[in-house]
Amino acid sequence: MLGEFIQYLFSGLTNGAIYALVGLGFALIYNASHVINFAQGEFVMLGGMNTVFLMAAGLPMPVAIMLAVIITAIVGLALEKLAVEQTKNATVVTLIIITIGAGIFIRGAAQVMFDKSFHTLPPFSGDAPLNVLGATITPQTLWVLGITIVIVAALQWFFTRTLLGKAVLATSHNPLAARLVGVNVQFILLLSFGLSAALGAIGGVLITPISPTNFEVGIMLGVKGFSAAILGGLGSGFGAIAGGLILGLIEAYTAGYISSNYKDAMAFVVILLVLFFMPSGLFGKRGTDRV
């Protein structure tokens, strides 16, 4: 009984950690621009697929992973530079549609450059399962959780201890005021896209040894990441992480105890209920409208 419970706990936390990384990517870009980047899931796909194909080209795994994250970050920068920055007086909705177009473009390109079949990566350190209180846990699970914790700590340091990080925060609070005190808002926006693309790519690399990837996996992962960011409260980094983990746990326990067919549906039912009572998510800012 306990073994089962712990088993679901770990599988929920593992998926939840990935949702959290994708959700953090949403939060970063949202804070810098109020845009929901619907190509976020595609960054996750690119991380996994690039690593698969770079390794197939003969590169050792660590190099392939590094390159894959860098390539994806460049795609993120290109999206900001070539598309988002080119618009003039565009509303947020228009920008969102541009990111949807970018997502379709990236999926199409991946289908041409890679292929349509499913791929997987070898686990980072073998697949001898560990036994924890009657649950079997693969080492990859620990990698996912460990790296997620490291990334969250690094982001925390970046936003509270570095000038650049504080400039990002300042921009998210008030772009005009940030510009007045000398923050290069355009650069902050560029940085946010690069950073969230890299975050997505890392998530993609981490999850591929556990669940296979193909050119279309980004759609659902993007939706889950968005859900995580909204559930936690849009724009809150802590909220995105909490939202991701909660989402992962709901799915794992629904799949384990109720019905694996309805695990996704249950996650959305819970989100709807939360939003009905807390319209700004669990940790979002309660805003008032100005006329």
Binding site: T87, I97, G101, G108, I230, Y262, V269, G281, D289
Partner: protein, 315 residues
């Protein structure tokens, strides 16, 4: 007397009616008729959705769910239980409208991206149920649907469907234009401009938002029913997340708060993938690229942006 007929509203209706009337002379084969019919169906849904997005500023990322509910209700009651299709269609529209009415109040209290999330969630829940309950819906493989018939007269040829779809499109356009020009329309625009300000001057914003939400859901349900009979097949993809996103793209690409923009958006987004199939593997890449380019260079959407250019040109 003539003046009244030459308002932009009436001129637009007349132009649309002319296009619908003349088009069959230009269309050469069943394939082209098929695209025209699909354009008309999508345009009706998008006109409804445009009322919600363009005029009240409320987003819905789950509208394909209403299409799916209407479509599956018709498909199941007609094909499995032998209901008359017209009755099924009307009952479906009433049920979907009632459902939209019930969920509208809690959902429309949410704002912006939270509203997007809630509608997205509802849409996905619908499509998951349609996928899982295969005893009723045929599951992911879909189900075949009986043709549409009324009083023993069966709609079979593309031409017949063309006139039905075209006529309904005209009706939907007329309803939409009238709604926009009515006091309700002015209230809606006030809600879009500033909800708080609208409330302060005494507009019952919630009532109007709910009204438009229900209208757009009913439009979708009717099209869902008819479309299922026309294609004679229905699968959960029709109610899926990506279809919902496509509908929103049609609204924004054509031009928000423009009824004719909605029609243009539907026409382009429905026919473009058909034209791009010659590119085979490159289809999606080019499609995504075109979407980005249109939004970068015509950020207000095609119809409003071009109208703006024309106005500047004549000055």
């Amino acid at each position: 007397m003539m003046r009244a007929f030459l308002t932009p509203r009436f001129a637009g209706m007349l132009a649309l009616a002319l296009v619908i009337a003349v088009l069959p002379a230009v269309l050469q084969n069943n394939f082209q008729f098929d695209i025209a019919i699909r354009v008309a169906f999508n345009a009706i849904v998008v006109i409804g959705l445009n009322l919600l997005i363009g005029y009240t500023g409320q987003i819905s990322l789950g509208h394909a769910g209403f299409l799916g509910l209407g479509g599956y209700f018709s498909a199941i009651t007609v094909t499995t239980y032998g209901w008359p299709p017209a009755v099924a269609m009307v009952v479906a529209a009433v049920i979907v409208g009632a459902l939209a009415f019930v969920i509208a109040r809690p959902i429309l209290r949410l704002k912006g991206h939270y509203l997007a999330m809630a509608t997205l969630g509802l849409g996905i829940i619908v499509s998951i149920v349609l996928n899982q309950e295969s005893w009723l819906t045929g599951g992911p493989d879909g189900m075949s649907v009986a043709p549409f018939s009324i009083g023993g007269y069966e709609l079979t040829t593309q031409k017949q469907w063309y006139w039905v779809a075209g006529g309904l499109l005209l009706l939907a356009t007329w309803l939409s234009l009238n709604l926009i020009d009515s006091p309700v329309g002015r209230a809606l625009r006030a809600v879009h401009g500033s909800e708080v300000a609208a409330e302060v001057v005494g507009v019952d914003t919630t009532r109007f938002k709910v009204l438009v939400f229900v209208v757009s859901a009913v439009f979708a349900s009717v099209v869902g029913s008819l479309s299922a009979h026309y294609v004679m097949f229905l699968s959960p993809v029709y109610a899926g997340f990506f279809h919902s996103v496509e509908l929103v793209i049609m609204v924004v690409l054509g031009g928000m708060a423009s009824t004719f923009g909605a029609i243009i958006g539907a026409a382009i987004l429905t026919s473009l993938p058909q034209l791009l199939t010659v590119l085979e593997d490159y289809e999606h890449m080019i499609f995504g690229l075109i979407m980005m380019l249109v939004m970068i260079f015509l950020p207000k959407g095609i119809v409003p942006s071009l109208q703006g250019l024309l106005r500047r040109g004549t000055k």
